[in-house]
């Protein structure tokens, strides 16, 4: 299973500046494992220490947010596109 993975600007330092890279795997988790073998350090920016998806990224398989597809267990099929985008949030907060 080969998929295209679109990389956001902030993470292109891990892919030598490439906007899009190929990876293989039958689940999102396997795709990230494959990516890590060629782009060391990238996986830690996508998966939080607790094991879930990192809060700083939105990840999609084609048009679907993977949180609605089973998260890391989301199946991927040959020819699909995995898109990684920055998940922006912020605000004054209740402490200030």
């Amino acid at each position: 299973m080969t998929v295209q993975v679109k990389i956001p600007t902030i993470l292109r330092s891990y892919t030598g500046g490439e906007k899009s890279v190929e990876a293989s795997g039958e689940t999102l988790d396997a795709v990230f494992g494959d990516l890590e073998s060629r782009h060391a350090g990238l996986r830690a920016r996508l998966i939080a220490e607790g094991g879930g998806l990192h809060k700083f990224v939105n990840i999609y398989v084609d048009d679907e947010d993977v949180r609605f597809l089973g998260g890391l267990e989301a199946p991927v099929k040959d020819g699909q596109t995995v898109t990684i985008l920055p998940a922006v949030a912020g605000g004054a907060g209740s402490q200030t």
């Binding site: 809060k55 985008l85 920055p86 912020g90 907060g93």
Partner: protein, 138 residues
Amino acid sequence: MLELPRTIHDAVIAHARRDHPDECCGVLPGIDGRVTRIVEMQNAERSPTGFSWESGEVLALHRDMDDRDEEMLVVYHSHTMTEAAPSRTDVRFAVGATGPDVHWLIVSTREEATTEVRSFLIAADGEVSEEEVRLVDG
């Protein structure tokens, strides 16, 4: 320094005033460091103390920017009870999500008569640098 077309500056303030007392948020896409337009985003939290974006809207925004060869040049939002300076949450997301090249434009609507508009660059180590906002024609 952030060069901001006057019409876009005014549109950001209008958005902040319209959504007050909740925080507003949005993106100013750009090409080669020049702001091209304003994209108002929905604050999924509808909150006076925070903002976040719904993931479908984020995907649509980035596809639209890709089609126009734009980048996410500026992220803007409002603080409705405090000054126009990055909070700890803002810094955390600037470091983790947007990176050091995206300008963080913050508007404060806490005063009715005046609207504070300030811009910041936030380095990978979390160091905050305020920058000049220069209004230009357009």
